[in-house]
């Protein structure tokens, strides 16, 4: 068999629609035999928090407020026409109605197919978060140099 294909995604946005794109590509690529790495940074970190709702996480007053306002995977806003958080709920309903996988299904499939999750050390530092604030599937905390190293020789996408 030829050398394994590889896809590395940089998940920067915490927007519901863009996070769906991240996990659609990740689960799809993993299902066709790709090695898949996702490097979560800044708002992307919201989708791998253990707490899926709004919680005062992190160290420092500002960081705790930021993390409360940002919330977790169940609070992600739509990038357009969010309507105070109503749109992601409506969109999930529309997706279910049309038999399109929801964010949670894509997220679970990505985990089940062994997609590698990594968290950005610098963004975690800014937001006062530690590895314990994330789901146990997060393999490691990395910086740019390590990400470049593990994505070398494959395709890289920034979302």
């Amino acid at each position: 068999m030829a050398e394994k294909n590889k896809l590395s995604l940089i998940s920067m946005s915490g927007d519901f629609d863009k996070v769906i794109a991240v996990f659609t590509l990740a689960s799809g690529a993993a299902a066709v035999g790709y090695e898949v790495n996702i490097f979560f940074t800044f708002w992307g970190l919201n989708s791998i928090k253990k707490e899926t709702g709004r919680r005062f996480l992190g160290s420092g007053l500002m960081a705790r407020f930021f993390n409360f306002l940002l919330g977790g995977r169940k609070n992600l806003p739509l990038s357009r026409l969010n309507f105070g958080g109503l749109s992601p709920i409506l969109m999930t309903g529309m997706m279910r109605g049309k038999n399109v996988a929801t964010l949670e299904e894509l997220f679970d499939a990505s985990k089940a197919l062994g997609v590698n999750f990594y968290a950005c050390e610098m963004a975690m530092h800014v937001l006062g978060l530690t590895k314990e604030d994330f789901i146990p599937e997060v393999k490691d905390v990395l910086g740019v140099a390590s990400f470049l190293d593990l994505s070398k020789g494959g395709q890289v996408l920034f979302i």
């Binding site: 689960s27 799809g28 993993a30 299902a31 066709v32 035999g33 996988a101 894509l106 499939a109 197919l113």
Partner: protein
């Protein structure tokens, strides 16, 4: 040797081949997976991506209208 059935006729990309891959992972070598799928993207890609990963496509048959059965051996 066991046979598992999987209906992905109502699924959309990427869950079509995601569900096939998850089902294949559960099987032992030599087991059979019978997949019901629709023509178009699933019919083009499910057998191809399974074959690319070293699984054996035993048959592809038209069941009715635009529904096909693809038999894959692990």
């Amino acid at each position: 040797m066991s046979t598992l059935n999987l209906d992905i006729t109502k699924e959309r990309c990427p869950m079509t081949f995601v569900k096939v891959k998850l089902a294949l992972e559960k099987l032992e070598a030599g087991d059979i997976l019978e997949v019901l799928l629709t023509e178009g993207e699933p019919l083009q890609n499910v057998p191809k991506t399974a074959a690319d990963q070293g699984y054996l496509i035993l048959e592809t048959t038209l069941v009715k209208d635009s529904i096909y059965k693809v038999v894959i051996q692990k």
